[in-house]
Amino acid sequence: METLEQIKARIEAAVAGAKLEIIPNPGPANQPSLLVDTAHALAVARFLHDDAALQLDYCSNVTGVDWPEKAITEKIHFKQVVNGVEREFEQVIEKVRPGFLEAVYHLYSMRLKTGPVILRQRTANRTDNVRVASLTPVWRSCEFQEREVYDLFGIIFDGHPDLRRILMWDEFTDHPMRKDYVPPDDYEYEPTPHGPVQEKARRHYPTENKE
Protein backbone atom coordinates (compact mmCIF):
# COMPACT_ATOMS: atom_id res chain seq x y z
CA MET A 1 0.00 0.00 0.00
CA GLU A 2 1.08 3.54 -0.71
CA THR A 3 2.39 5.76 2.04
CA LEU A 4 0.24 8.57 3.34
CA GLU A 5 2.44 11.13 1.57
CA GLN A 6 1.82 9.45 -1.79
CA ILE A 7 -1.91 9.26 -1.12
CA LYS A 8 -1.91 12.93 -0.18
CA ALA A 9 -0.12 13.91 -3.38
CA ARG A 10 -2.56 11.89 -5.49
CA ILE A 11 -5.59 13.41 -3.75
CA GLU A 12 -4.24 16.90 -4.31
CA ALA A 13 -3.86 16.11 -8.00
CA ALA A 14 -7.35 14.63 -8.28
CA VAL A 15 -9.44 16.91 -6.05
CA ALA A 16 -8.87 20.53 -6.95
CA GLY A 17 -8.55 22.86 -4.01
CA ALA A 18 -8.50 20.23 -1.28
CA LYS A 19 -6.47 21.35 1.72
CA LEU A 20 -4.76 18.35 3.26
CA GLU A 21 -2.39 17.99 6.16
CA ILE A 22 -0.69 14.93 7.58
CA ILE A 23 -1.14 14.64 11.34
CA PRO A 24 1.81 12.65 12.70
CA ASN A 25 1.32 10.02 15.36
CA PRO A 26 4.40 9.93 17.57
CA GLY A 27 3.46 6.79 19.48
CA PRO A 28 4.64 3.21 18.79
CA ALA A 29 1.44 2.41 16.86
CA ASN A 30 2.66 4.59 13.98
CA GLN A 31 -0.75 5.35 12.54
CA PRO A 32 -0.53 8.88 11.07
CA SER A 33 -3.71 10.44 9.76
CA LEU A 34 -4.85 12.82 7.06
CA LEU A 35 -6.64 16.04 7.99
CA VAL A 36 -9.17 17.11 5.34
CA ASP A 37 -10.95 20.45 5.13
CA THR A 38 -14.70 20.07 5.50
CA ALA A 39 -15.52 21.68 2.16
CA HIS A 40 -13.70 18.99 0.18
CA ALA A 41 -14.12 16.04 2.57
CA LEU A 42 -16.88 14.40 0.57
CA ALA A 43 -14.96 14.67 -2.71
CA VAL A 44 -11.83 13.28 -1.04
CA ALA A 45 -13.88 10.42 0.42
CA ARG A 46 -15.33 9.60 -2.97
CA PHE A 47 -11.85 9.60 -4.48
CA LEU A 48 -10.54 7.24 -1.78
CA HIS A 49 -13.55 4.95 -2.25
CA ASP A 50 -13.40 4.82 -6.05
CA ASP A 51 -9.66 4.95 -6.73
CA ALA A 52 -8.47 1.70 -8.28
CA ALA A 53 -5.21 1.54 -6.35
CA LEU A 54 -6.78 2.23 -2.96
CA GLN A 55 -10.36 0.89 -3.11
CA LEU A 56 -11.14 1.91 0.46
CA ASP A 57 -14.59 0.38 0.33
CA TYR A 58 -15.02 -0.17 4.05
CA CYS A 59 -15.27 2.53 6.70
CA SER A 60 -14.72 0.67 9.88
CA ASN A 61 -14.80 3.20 12.67
CA VAL A 62 -16.14 6.73 13.01
CA THR A 63 -15.64 8.63 16.18
CA GLY A 64 -15.29 12.10 17.62
CA VAL A 65 -12.64 13.69 19.77
CA ASP A 66 -13.08 16.82 21.85
CA TRP A 67 -10.11 19.17 22.08
CA PRO A 68 -11.01 22.06 24.38
CA GLU A 69 -9.15 25.33 24.46
CA LYS A 70 -5.71 24.75 25.88
CA ALA A 71 -2.83 26.93 26.98
CA ILE A 72 0.38 25.74 25.39
CA THR A 73 3.90 26.99 25.84
CA GLU A 74 6.20 27.17 22.89
CA LYS A 75 9.93 27.81 22.85
CA ILE A 76 11.20 30.06 20.11
CA HIS A 77 14.86 30.44 19.22
CA PHE A 78 15.91 33.62 17.52
CA LYS A 79 19.13 35.44 16.79
CA GLN A 80 19.80 39.02 17.61
CA VAL A 81 22.83 41.21 17.30
CA VAL A 82 23.77 42.54 20.72
CA ASN A 83 26.74 44.93 21.01
CA GLY A 84 27.92 43.93 17.59
CA VAL A 85 27.89 40.16 18.39
CA GLU A 86 25.20 37.88 17.06
CA ARG A 87 23.79 35.80 19.92
CA GLU A 88 21.08 33.20 20.13
CA PHE A 89 18.16 33.76 22.44
CA GLU A 90 15.39 31.52 23.66
CA GLN A 91 11.98 32.84 24.40
CA VAL A 92 9.00 31.01 25.90
CA ILE A 93 5.72 32.11 24.39
CA GLU A 94 2.42 31.21 25.97
CA LYS A 95 -0.33 30.69 23.44
CA VAL A 96 -3.91 29.53 23.61
CA ARG A 97 -4.73 26.78 21.18
CA PRO A 98 -8.35 27.36 20.19
CA GLY A 99 -10.70 24.49 20.93
CA PHE A 100 -12.23 22.34 18.22
CA LEU A 101 -14.06 19.07 17.71
CA GLU A 102 -12.71 16.36 15.50
CA ALA A 103 -14.29 13.51 13.57
CA VAL A 104 -12.01 10.53 12.89
CA TYR A 105 -12.65 7.89 10.20
CA HIS A 106 -10.78 4.57 9.93
CA LEU A 107 -10.88 3.28 6.36
CA TYR A 108 -9.95 -0.17 5.11
CA SER A 109 -10.12 -1.98 1.82
CA MET A 110 -11.96 -5.28 1.93
CA ARG A 111 -11.02 -6.18 -1.63
CA LEU A 112 -7.31 -5.47 -1.29
CA LYS A 113 -7.21 -6.29 2.43
CA THR A 114 -5.21 -3.16 3.24
CA GLY A 115 -5.57 -0.33 5.68
CA PRO A 116 -6.11 1.61 7.75
CA VAL A 117 -6.11 5.06 6.19
CA ILE A 118 -7.23 7.52 8.85
CA LEU A 119 -9.18 10.62 7.84
CA ARG A 120 -9.88 13.53 10.16
CA GLN A 121 -12.17 16.53 9.90
CA ARG A 122 -12.10 19.45 12.29
CA THR A 123 -14.76 21.96 13.20
CA ALA A 124 -13.98 25.66 13.38
CA ASN A 125 -14.75 25.89 17.08
CA ARG A 126 -16.71 24.11 19.79
CA THR A 127 -19.71 26.42 20.08
CA ASP A 128 -21.45 27.90 17.08
CA ASN A 129 -19.61 26.45 14.10
CA VAL A 130 -19.56 22.72 14.71
CA ARG A 131 -20.22 21.54 11.18
CA VAL A 132 -18.32 18.95 9.20
CA ALA A 133 -19.31 17.05 6.07
CA SER A 134 -21.12 13.75 6.48
CA LEU A 135 -19.48 10.83 4.69
CA THR A 136 -22.62 8.67 4.91
CA PRO A 137 -23.33 9.20 1.18
CA VAL A 138 -20.08 7.33 0.47
CA TRP A 139 -20.09 4.75 3.26
CA ARG A 140 -23.39 3.60 4.76
CA SER A 141 -21.54 2.36 7.85
CA CYS A 142 -21.11 5.98 8.96
CA GLU A 143 -24.86 6.41 9.37
CA PHE A 144 -25.27 5.25 12.98
CA GLN A 145 -21.76 6.20 14.01
CA GLU A 146 -22.13 9.80 12.84
CA ARG A 147 -25.43 9.95 14.66
CA GLU A 148 -23.60 8.78 17.75
CA VAL A 149 -20.90 11.43 17.33
CA TYR A 150 -23.60 14.08 16.90
CA ASP A 151 -25.34 12.79 20.02
CA LEU A 152 -22.33 12.54 22.29
CA PHE A 153 -20.09 15.33 20.92
CA GLY A 154 -22.45 17.72 19.19
CA ILE A 155 -20.77 17.70 15.78
CA ILE A 156 -23.31 18.42 13.04
CA PHE A 157 -22.79 16.37 9.90
CA ASP A 158 -23.97 18.25 6.80
CA GLY A 159 -25.58 15.91 4.34
CA HIS A 160 -26.48 13.17 6.80
CA PRO A 161 -29.86 11.68 5.85
CA ASP A 162 -31.23 11.23 9.36
CA LEU A 163 -29.28 13.13 11.98
CA ARG A 164 -31.00 12.43 15.29
CA ARG A 165 -29.86 11.44 18.75
CA ILE A 166 -29.18 7.74 18.96
CA LEU A 167 -28.16 6.81 22.50
CA MET A 168 -29.49 9.67 24.61
CA TRP A 169 -33.18 10.48 24.55
CA ASP A 170 -34.47 13.12 22.16
CA GLU A 171 -35.24 15.70 24.86
CA PHE A 172 -31.69 15.65 26.15
CA THR A 173 -29.92 18.92 25.45
CA ASP A 174 -26.22 18.47 26.24
CA HIS A 175 -23.44 16.37 24.71
CA PRO A 176 -22.04 14.02 27.35
CA MET A 177 -18.72 13.06 25.79
CA ARG A 178 -17.40 16.61 25.77
CA LYS A 179 -14.63 17.21 28.23
CA ASP A 180 -16.45 20.07 29.96
CA TYR A 181 -19.75 18.22 30.35
CA VAL A 182 -21.30 18.57 33.79
CA PRO A 183 -23.78 15.82 34.65
CA PRO A 184 -27.13 17.03 35.95
CA ASP A 185 -27.58 16.71 39.68
CA ASP A 186 -31.07 15.22 39.51
CA TYR A 187 -30.22 12.33 37.24
CA GLU A 188 -30.99 9.65 39.73
CA TYR A 189 -33.75 9.20 42.21
CA GLU A 190 -33.10 7.03 45.19
CA PRO A 191 -35.63 6.55 47.94
CA THR A 192 -32.86 6.43 50.53
CA PRO A 193 -30.04 8.49 49.08
CA HIS A 194 -26.60 8.41 50.58
CA GLY A 195 -23.12 9.63 49.84
CA PRO A 196 -22.56 11.84 46.81
CA VAL A 197 -26.05 11.14 45.47
CA GLN A 198 -27.53 12.51 48.67
CA GLU A 199 -25.38 15.61 48.40
CA LYS A 200 -26.57 16.21 44.84
CA ALA A 201 -30.19 15.52 45.71
CA ARG A 202 -29.97 17.95 48.60
CA ARG A 203 -28.62 20.64 46.34
CA HIS A 204 -31.29 20.01 43.77
CA TYR A 205 -34.26 19.68 46.12
CA PRO A 206 -33.28 21.92 49.04
CA THR A 207 -36.68 21.77 50.75
CA GLU A 208 -37.35 18.05 50.48
CA ASN A 209 -34.08 16.72 51.79
CA LYS A 210 -33.68 18.58 55.04
CA GLU A 211 -32.68 16.39 57.91
Binding site: N25, P26, G27, P28, A29, Q31, D57, Y58, C59, S60, N61, T63, V65, V104, H106, M110, K113, P116, I118, V130, R131, W139, R140, S141, C142, E143, F144, Q145, E148, L152, I156, D158, H160, D162, L163, R164, R165, I166, L167, M168, W169, D170, E171, P176, M177, Y181
Partner: protein, 403 residues
Protein backbone atom coordinates in the same frame (compact mmCIF):
# COMPACT_ATOMS: atom_id res chain seq x y z
CA UNK B 1 -54.88 5.12 15.43
CA UNK B 2 -51.62 5.98 13.82
CA UNK B 3 -49.16 7.67 16.07
CA UNK B 4 -46.31 9.53 14.55
CA UNK B 5 -43.59 8.33 16.88
CA UNK B 6 -40.86 9.50 14.62
CA UNK B 7 -41.14 13.26 14.68
CA UNK B 8 -37.87 13.72 16.50
CA UNK B 9 -39.45 14.51 19.85
CA UNK B 10 -38.26 17.65 21.56
CA UNK B 11 -34.86 17.73 19.94
CA UNK B 12 -34.17 21.22 18.74
CA UNK B 13 -30.81 22.18 17.50
CA UNK B 14 -30.34 25.46 15.66
CA UNK B 15 -27.93 23.96 13.20
CA UNK B 16 -29.89 20.89 12.16
CA UNK B 17 -30.82 20.55 8.52
CA UNK B 18 -34.49 21.20 7.86
CA UNK B 19 -36.59 18.09 8.03
CA UNK B 20 -34.12 16.03 10.06
CA UNK B 21 -35.99 13.39 11.96
CA UNK B 22 -39.22 13.92 10.05
CA UNK B 23 -40.94 10.75 8.80
CA UNK B 24 -39.84 9.87 5.31
CA UNK B 25 -42.97 7.88 4.49
CA UNK B 26 -46.56 8.91 3.96
CA UNK B 27 -48.87 7.88 6.70
CA UNK B 28 -51.68 7.08 4.28
CA UNK B 29 -49.81 6.45 1.06
CA UNK B 30 -52.57 5.10 -1.15
CA UNK B 31 -55.87 5.81 0.55
CA UNK B 32 -58.68 4.56 -1.63
CA UNK B 33 -56.28 3.12 -4.20
CA UNK B 34 -58.12 0.74 -6.50
CA UNK B 35 -57.02 -2.49 -4.80
CA UNK B 36 -59.95 -2.57 -2.39
CA UNK B 37 -57.73 -1.80 0.59
CA UNK B 38 -57.84 1.49 2.38
CA UNK B 39 -54.06 1.67 2.31
CA UNK B 40 -53.76 2.42 5.96
CA UNK B 41 -50.38 1.66 7.49
CA UNK B 42 -49.89 0.90 11.13
CA UNK B 43 -46.95 1.89 13.25
CA UNK B 44 -46.04 -0.81 15.77
CA UNK B 45 -43.47 -0.42 18.49
CA UNK B 46 -41.73 -3.78 18.90
CA UNK B 47 -39.91 -3.89 22.20
CA UNK B 48 -38.11 -2.72 24.24
CA UNK B 49 -39.34 -5.47 26.57
CA UNK B 50 -39.86 -8.30 24.17
CA UNK B 51 -38.09 -11.69 24.29
CA UNK B 52 -37.32 -11.63 20.58
CA UNK B 53 -35.30 -8.42 20.80
CA UNK B 54 -32.59 -10.16 22.86
CA UNK B 55 -32.44 -7.37 25.42
CA UNK B 56 -33.85 -3.87 25.69
CA UNK B 57 -34.05 -2.92 22.04
CA UNK B 58 -36.95 -1.35 20.17
CA UNK B 59 -37.95 -1.34 16.54
CA UNK B 60 -40.41 1.22 15.21
CA UNK B 61 -42.05 -0.84 12.51
CA UNK B 62 -44.50 0.56 9.97
CA UNK B 63 -46.73 -2.19 8.64
CA UNK B 64 -48.93 -2.39 5.60
CA UNK B 65 -51.04 -5.35 6.55
CA UNK B 66 -48.35 -7.71 7.79
CA UNK B 67 -45.65 -6.45 5.44
CA UNK B 68 -42.93 -4.20 6.73
CA UNK B 69 -42.82 -0.82 5.00
CA UNK B 70 -40.33 0.86 7.25
CA UNK B 71 -38.29 -0.11 10.27
CA UNK B 72 -36.28 2.16 12.52
CA UNK B 73 -34.20 0.69 15.33
CA UNK B 74 -34.19 2.62 18.60
CA UNK B 75 -31.27 2.19 20.99
CA UNK B 76 -29.98 3.59 24.20
CA UNK B 77 -31.95 1.78 26.87
CA UNK B 78 -28.74 0.26 28.24
CA UNK B 79 -26.54 3.30 27.64
CA UNK B 80 -24.21 4.09 30.53
CA UNK B 81 -21.49 5.95 28.61
CA UNK B 82 -18.85 3.31 28.99
CA UNK B 83 -16.43 5.52 27.03
CA UNK B 84 -16.72 8.41 29.46
CA UNK B 85 -16.23 6.09 32.42
CA UNK B 86 -13.10 4.66 30.82
CA UNK B 87 -11.68 8.13 30.16
CA UNK B 88 -11.85 8.89 33.86
CA UNK B 89 -10.11 5.75 35.16
CA UNK B 90 -6.74 4.16 34.58
CA UNK B 91 -5.92 1.92 31.63
CA UNK B 92 -5.96 -1.14 33.88
CA UNK B 93 -9.25 -0.15 35.46
CA UNK B 94 -11.13 -0.40 32.17
CA UNK B 95 -10.56 -4.13 31.70
CA UNK B 96 -13.41 -5.27 33.98
CA UNK B 97 -15.70 -2.75 32.27
CA UNK B 98 -14.97 -4.26 28.88
CA UNK B 99 -16.36 -7.57 30.18
CA UNK B 100 -19.76 -5.91 30.34
CA UNK B 101 -19.79 -4.77 26.71
CA UNK B 102 -20.71 -8.02 25.04
CA UNK B 103 -21.43 -9.99 28.18
CA UNK B 104 -21.55 -13.27 26.27
CA UNK B 105 -17.97 -12.92 25.06
CA UNK B 106 -16.05 -11.13 27.80
CA UNK B 107 -12.73 -12.72 26.89
CA UNK B 108 -12.70 -11.43 23.32
CA UNK B 109 -13.56 -7.95 24.63
CA UNK B 110 -10.59 -8.19 26.99
CA UNK B 111 -8.39 -9.19 24.10
CA UNK B 112 -9.43 -6.34 21.82
CA UNK B 113 -8.82 -3.77 24.53
CA UNK B 114 -5.47 -5.17 25.66
CA UNK B 115 -4.40 -5.39 22.02
CA UNK B 116 -5.16 -1.68 21.56
CA UNK B 117 -3.20 -0.72 24.68
CA UNK B 118 -0.31 -2.95 23.61
CA UNK B 119 -0.26 -1.16 20.28
CA UNK B 120 -0.42 2.22 21.97
CA UNK B 121 2.38 1.47 24.42
CA UNK B 122 4.46 -0.85 22.24
CA UNK B 123 4.25 -3.88 24.52
CA UNK B 124 5.14 -7.43 23.51
CA UNK B 125 3.34 -10.55 24.71
CA UNK B 126 4.94 -13.91 25.63
CA UNK B 127 4.11 -16.81 23.39
CA UNK B 128 2.28 -18.91 25.96
CA UNK B 129 -0.02 -15.99 26.71
CA UNK B 130 -0.83 -15.64 23.00
CA UNK B 131 -1.80 -19.30 22.89
CA UNK B 132 -3.95 -18.95 26.01
CA UNK B 133 -5.65 -15.95 24.40
CA UNK B 134 -6.40 -17.90 21.25
CA UNK B 135 -7.79 -20.82 23.28
CA UNK B 136 -10.02 -18.41 25.24
CA UNK B 137 -11.19 -16.58 22.13
CA UNK B 138 -12.06 -19.72 20.20
CA UNK B 139 -13.89 -21.25 23.17
CA UNK B 140 -15.83 -17.97 23.35
CA UNK B 141 -16.67 -18.27 19.68
CA UNK B 142 -17.97 -21.80 20.23
CA UNK B 143 -20.31 -20.81 23.04
CA UNK B 144 -21.48 -17.63 21.31
CA UNK B 145 -22.38 -19.33 18.05
CA UNK B 146 -23.98 -22.35 19.74
CA UNK B 147 -26.19 -20.14 21.89
CA UNK B 148 -27.00 -17.79 19.04
CA UNK B 149 -28.40 -20.67 17.00
CA UNK B 150 -30.39 -21.72 20.05
CA UNK B 151 -31.89 -18.24 20.32
CA UNK B 152 -32.53 -18.10 16.59
CA UNK B 153 -34.57 -21.30 16.54
CA UNK B 154 -36.34 -20.19 19.68
CA UNK B 155 -37.50 -17.14 17.73
CA UNK B 156 -38.91 -19.57 15.18
CA UNK B 157 -40.92 -21.42 17.79
CA UNK B 158 -38.60 -24.21 18.95
CA UNK B 159 -39.05 -23.08 22.53
CA UNK B 160 -36.44 -24.08 25.01
CA UNK B 161 -35.11 -27.48 24.09
CA UNK B 162 -32.51 -26.61 21.42
CA UNK B 163 -31.39 -23.62 23.44
CA UNK B 164 -30.91 -25.84 26.47
CA UNK B 165 -28.76 -28.20 24.39
CA UNK B 166 -26.56 -25.19 23.57
CA UNK B 167 -26.58 -24.03 27.18
CA UNK B 168 -25.44 -27.48 28.30
CA UNK B 169 -22.34 -27.13 26.12
CA UNK B 170 -21.91 -23.51 27.13
CA UNK B 171 -21.91 -24.50 30.77
CA UNK B 172 -19.02 -26.92 30.14
CA UNK B 173 -17.03 -24.09 28.60
CA UNK B 174 -18.01 -21.65 31.34
CA UNK B 175 -16.76 -24.18 33.91
CA UNK B 176 -13.41 -24.09 32.13
CA UNK B 177 -13.44 -20.28 32.22
CA UNK B 178 -14.28 -20.33 35.91
CA UNK B 179 -11.34 -22.58 36.60
CA UNK B 180 -8.99 -20.39 34.59
CA UNK B 181 -10.18 -16.91 35.52
CA UNK B 182 -12.31 -17.25 38.63
CA UNK B 183 -15.52 -16.12 36.97
CA UNK B 184 -17.93 -17.73 34.55
CA UNK B 185 -18.86 -14.73 32.47
CA UNK B 186 -17.15 -11.58 33.76
CA UNK B 187 -13.70 -13.07 33.29
CA UNK B 188 -11.42 -10.00 33.58
CA UNK B 189 -8.56 -12.24 32.55
CA UNK B 190 -6.25 -10.57 30.05
CA UNK B 191 -3.74 -7.88 30.88
CA UNK B 192 -1.46 -5.71 28.78
CA UNK B 193 1.51 -7.87 27.95
CA UNK B 194 -0.16 -11.20 28.61
CA UNK B 195 -2.71 -12.87 30.83
CA UNK B 196 -3.34 -12.52 34.53
CA UNK B 197 -2.54 -16.10 35.55
CA UNK B 198 -1.31 -19.31 34.05
CA UNK B 199 -3.67 -22.22 33.42
CA UNK B 200 -4.13 -24.41 36.52
CA UNK B 201 -2.66 -27.94 36.40
CA UNK B 202 -4.67 -30.25 34.18
CA UNK B 203 -6.72 -27.44 32.67
CA UNK B 204 -5.45 -27.91 29.13
CA UNK B 205 -6.34 -31.61 29.27
CA UNK B 206 -9.84 -30.73 30.41
CA UNK B 207 -10.14 -28.21 27.56
CA UNK B 208 -9.02 -30.90 25.14
CA UNK B 209 -11.75 -33.20 26.43
CA UNK B 210 -14.47 -30.58 25.93
CA UNK B 211 -13.10 -29.65 22.48
CA UNK B 212 -12.87 -33.26 21.33
CA UNK B 213 -16.48 -33.88 22.34
CA UNK B 214 -17.75 -30.70 20.70
CA UNK B 215 -18.06 -32.04 17.12
CA UNK B 216 -20.38 -34.75 18.42
CA UNK B 217 -22.61 -32.08 19.92
CA UNK B 218 -22.48 -30.20 16.63
CA UNK B 219 -23.53 -33.30 14.70
CA UNK B 220 -26.46 -33.74 17.04
CA UNK B 221 -27.31 -30.05 16.76
CA UNK B 222 -27.10 -30.09 12.99
CA UNK B 223 -29.28 -33.21 12.80
CA UNK B 224 -31.98 -31.11 14.46
CA UNK B 225 -31.74 -28.08 12.18
CA UNK B 226 -29.76 -28.25 8.98
CA UNK B 227 -32.35 -30.17 7.00
CA UNK B 228 -35.27 -29.22 9.18
CA UNK B 229 -38.26 -28.33 7.04
CA UNK B 230 -39.52 -25.53 9.26
CA UNK B 231 -36.09 -23.93 9.51
CA UNK B 232 -35.61 -24.08 5.75
CA UNK B 233 -39.07 -22.66 5.07
CA UNK B 234 -38.60 -19.81 7.50
CA UNK B 235 -35.01 -18.85 6.66
CA UNK B 236 -34.13 -19.53 3.04
CA UNK B 237 -34.58 -16.42 0.93
CA UNK B 238 -35.37 -14.31 3.99
CA UNK B 239 -33.39 -11.19 4.85
CA UNK B 240 -31.07 -11.30 1.86
CA UNK B 241 -28.06 -9.02 2.20
CA UNK B 242 -26.13 -8.40 -1.06
CA UNK B 243 -22.34 -8.39 -0.78
CA UNK B 244 -21.94 -4.83 -2.10
CA UNK B 245 -24.35 -3.41 0.45
CA UNK B 246 -22.78 -5.47 3.22
CA UNK B 247 -19.32 -4.04 2.51
CA UNK B 248 -20.60 -0.48 2.16
CA UNK B 249 -22.59 -0.70 5.38
CA UNK B 250 -19.59 -1.95 7.35
CA UNK B 251 -21.15 -5.30 8.21
CA UNK B 252 -18.55 -7.66 9.65
CA UNK B 253 -18.23 -11.11 11.09
CA UNK B 254 -20.40 -14.11 10.15
CA UNK B 255 -23.01 -11.72 8.67
CA UNK B 256 -20.53 -10.48 6.09
CA UNK B 257 -19.14 -13.89 5.25
CA UNK B 258 -22.65 -15.28 4.79
CA UNK B 259 -22.96 -12.75 1.96
CA UNK B 260 -19.89 -14.27 0.34
CA UNK B 261 -17.22 -11.69 1.21
CA UNK B 262 -13.98 -13.31 2.25
CA UNK B 263 -12.90 -11.02 5.06
CA UNK B 264 -11.83 -12.44 8.39
CA UNK B 265 -9.58 -10.27 10.52
CA UNK B 266 -7.88 -13.39 11.91
CA UNK B 267 -6.53 -13.89 8.38
CA UNK B 268 -6.26 -10.25 7.25
CA UNK B 269 -4.40 -8.82 10.24
CA UNK B 270 -3.00 -12.11 11.64
CA UNK B 271 -3.11 -10.53 15.08
CA UNK B 272 -1.83 -12.66 17.94
CA UNK B 273 -0.44 -15.84 16.45
CA UNK B 274 -3.30 -16.62 14.07
CA UNK B 275 -0.83 -16.63 11.18
CA UNK B 276 0.51 -19.97 12.44
CA UNK B 277 -2.81 -21.76 12.41
CA UNK B 278 -4.35 -23.75 9.65
CA UNK B 279 -8.04 -23.00 9.29
CA UNK B 280 -10.45 -22.08 6.54
CA UNK B 281 -13.01 -19.29 6.22
CA UNK B 282 -16.50 -20.58 5.41
CA UNK B 283 -18.39 -18.38 2.96
CA UNK B 284 -22.08 -18.17 2.13
CA UNK B 285 -23.65 -17.89 -1.29
CA UNK B 286 -27.03 -16.22 -0.85
CA UNK B 287 -26.61 -13.99 2.18
CA UNK B 288 -29.93 -15.05 3.68
CA UNK B 289 -30.73 -16.12 7.23
CA UNK B 290 -30.10 -19.78 6.42
CA UNK B 291 -26.58 -18.98 5.22
CA UNK B 292 -25.93 -17.05 8.41
CA UNK B 293 -27.01 -20.08 10.41
CA UNK B 294 -24.83 -22.40 8.33
CA UNK B 295 -21.78 -20.11 8.47
CA UNK B 296 -21.89 -20.21 12.24
CA UNK B 297 -22.04 -24.00 12.30
CA UNK B 298 -19.06 -24.21 9.94
CA UNK B 299 -17.14 -21.58 11.91
CA UNK B 300 -17.57 -23.66 15.04
CA UNK B 301 -16.04 -26.63 13.26
CA UNK B 302 -13.09 -24.47 12.19
CA UNK B 303 -12.73 -23.16 15.74
CA UNK B 304 -12.48 -26.75 16.97
CA UNK B 305 -9.60 -27.23 14.52
CA UNK B 306 -7.84 -24.08 15.79
CA UNK B 307 -8.32 -25.21 19.39
CA UNK B 308 -6.86 -28.65 18.69
CA UNK B 309 -3.79 -27.08 17.08
CA UNK B 310 -3.39 -24.61 19.92
CA UNK B 311 -3.66 -27.32 22.57
CA UNK B 312 -1.10 -29.40 20.69
CA UNK B 313 1.45 -26.60 20.21
CA UNK B 314 1.16 -24.50 23.36
CA UNK B 315 4.66 -23.91 24.77
CA UNK B 316 5.61 -23.49 28.41
CA UNK B 317 6.95 -20.22 29.73
CA UNK B 318 5.77 -17.00 31.35
CA UNK B 319 2.27 -15.70 30.65
CA UNK B 320 2.89 -12.01 31.24
CA UNK B 321 5.58 -9.55 30.20
CA UNK B 322 7.50 -9.10 33.49
CA UNK B 323 8.96 -5.71 32.62
CA UNK B 324 5.61 -3.98 32.37
CA UNK B 325 4.07 -1.90 35.11
CA UNK B 326 0.39 -2.69 34.97
CA UNK B 327 -0.74 -0.16 37.55
CA UNK B 328 -0.14 3.41 36.54
CA UNK B 329 0.68 2.50 32.95
CA UNK B 330 1.42 5.71 31.05
CA UNK B 331 1.65 5.07 27.31
CA UNK B 332 3.56 7.67 25.27
CA UNK B 333 1.59 10.41 23.51
CA UNK B 334 -0.10 9.04 20.42
CA UNK B 335 -3.08 7.08 19.26
CA UNK B 336 -3.83 3.52 18.20
CA UNK B 337 -6.69 1.61 16.61
CA UNK B 338 -6.68 -2.16 17.11
CA UNK B 339 -9.33 -4.66 16.06
CA UNK B 340 -10.01 -8.35 16.40
CA UNK B 341 -12.45 -10.81 14.92
CA UNK B 342 -14.89 -11.13 17.80
CA UNK B 343 -17.67 -13.72 17.44
CA UNK B 344 -20.07 -10.96 16.36
CA UNK B 345 -17.75 -9.14 13.96
CA UNK B 346 -14.99 -6.60 14.05
CA UNK B 347 -14.49 -5.36 17.59
CA UNK B 348 -12.17 -2.37 17.59
CA UNK B 349 -10.75 -0.07 20.23
CA UNK B 350 -9.48 3.40 19.42
CA UNK B 351 -7.33 5.00 22.10
CA UNK B 352 -5.64 8.40 22.30
CA UNK B 353 -3.02 8.90 24.98
CA UNK B 354 -1.91 12.31 26.21
CA UNK B 355 0.82 10.77 28.32
CA UNK B 356 -1.24 10.61 31.51
CA UNK B 357 -2.47 7.57 33.42
CA UNK B 358 -5.92 7.51 31.86
CA UNK B 359 -6.82 7.55 28.17
CA UNK B 360 -7.64 10.93 26.62
CA UNK B 361 -10.05 9.27 24.23
CA UNK B 362 -11.39 5.76 24.46
CA UNK B 363 -13.70 4.47 21.78
CA UNK B 364 -15.30 1.07 21.26
CA UNK B 365 -16.21 0.10 17.72
CA UNK B 366 -19.16 -2.19 18.46
CA UNK B 367 -19.89 -4.82 15.79
CA UNK B 368 -23.47 -5.33 16.99
CA UNK B 369 -24.45 -1.69 16.50
CA UNK B 370 -22.93 -1.33 13.05
CA UNK B 371 -24.36 -4.65 11.85
CA UNK B 372 -27.80 -3.17 12.62
CA UNK B 373 -27.29 -0.38 10.06
CA UNK B 374 -28.85 -2.48 7.31
CA UNK B 375 -31.57 -4.09 9.44
CA UNK B 376 -34.19 -1.97 7.69
CA UNK B 377 -32.92 -2.91 4.23
CA UNK B 378 -33.09 -6.59 5.07
CA UNK B 379 -36.56 -6.42 6.60
CA UNK B 380 -38.50 -4.27 4.10
CA UNK B 381 -40.94 -6.36 2.13
CA UNK B 382 -40.95 -9.25 4.58
CA UNK B 383 -43.64 -10.16 7.08
CA UNK B 384 -43.36 -8.82 10.60
CA UNK B 385 -42.69 -12.32 11.94
CA UNK B 386 -39.61 -12.51 9.72
CA UNK B 387 -38.20 -9.33 11.26
CA UNK B 388 -37.76 -11.28 14.47
CA UNK B 389 -35.73 -13.97 12.70
CA UNK B 390 -33.67 -11.47 10.72
CA UNK B 391 -32.84 -9.61 13.92
CA UNK B 392 -31.97 -12.94 15.55
CA UNK B 393 -29.57 -13.76 12.74
CA UNK B 394 -27.74 -10.44 13.14
CA UNK B 395 -26.61 -11.54 16.60
CA UNK B 396 -26.73 -8.49 18.84
CA UNK B 397 -25.98 -8.03 22.50
CA UNK B 398 -27.42 -4.80 23.84
CA UNK B 399 -24.64 -4.24 26.34
CA UNK B 400 -22.43 -3.62 23.34
CA UNK B 401 -24.95 -1.81 21.12
CA UNK B 402 -25.72 0.82 23.75
CA UNK B 403 -22.46 0.85 25.72
Amino acid sequence: MIANLDDGGGMEHPGLPAGAGAPNYELRPKAGGGDGLDGQVLEVSMGPHHPSTHGVFRMDVVLDGETIVKLKPVFGYLHRNHEKIAENISYLGSIPYTDRLDYFCSLTNNWAYTLAVEKLAGVTVPERAEYLRIICAELTRLLNHACLIGFLVQDMGALGTPLMYAFREREKILDLFEELTGARMMCNYMRFGGCRADAPPGWLERVAKVVDNFPRFLDEYEALFTENEILIARTQGVGILPAELAINAGVTGPMLRASGVNYDIRKVDSYGLYGRFDFRIPLGEHGDVYDRYMIRVLEMRESVKILQQALRDIPSGPVINPKLRLRGLRPPIGEAYARIEAPKGELGFFLISDGSANPYRYRVRPPSLINLTILEDMCIGHKVADAVIILGSVDIVLGEVDR
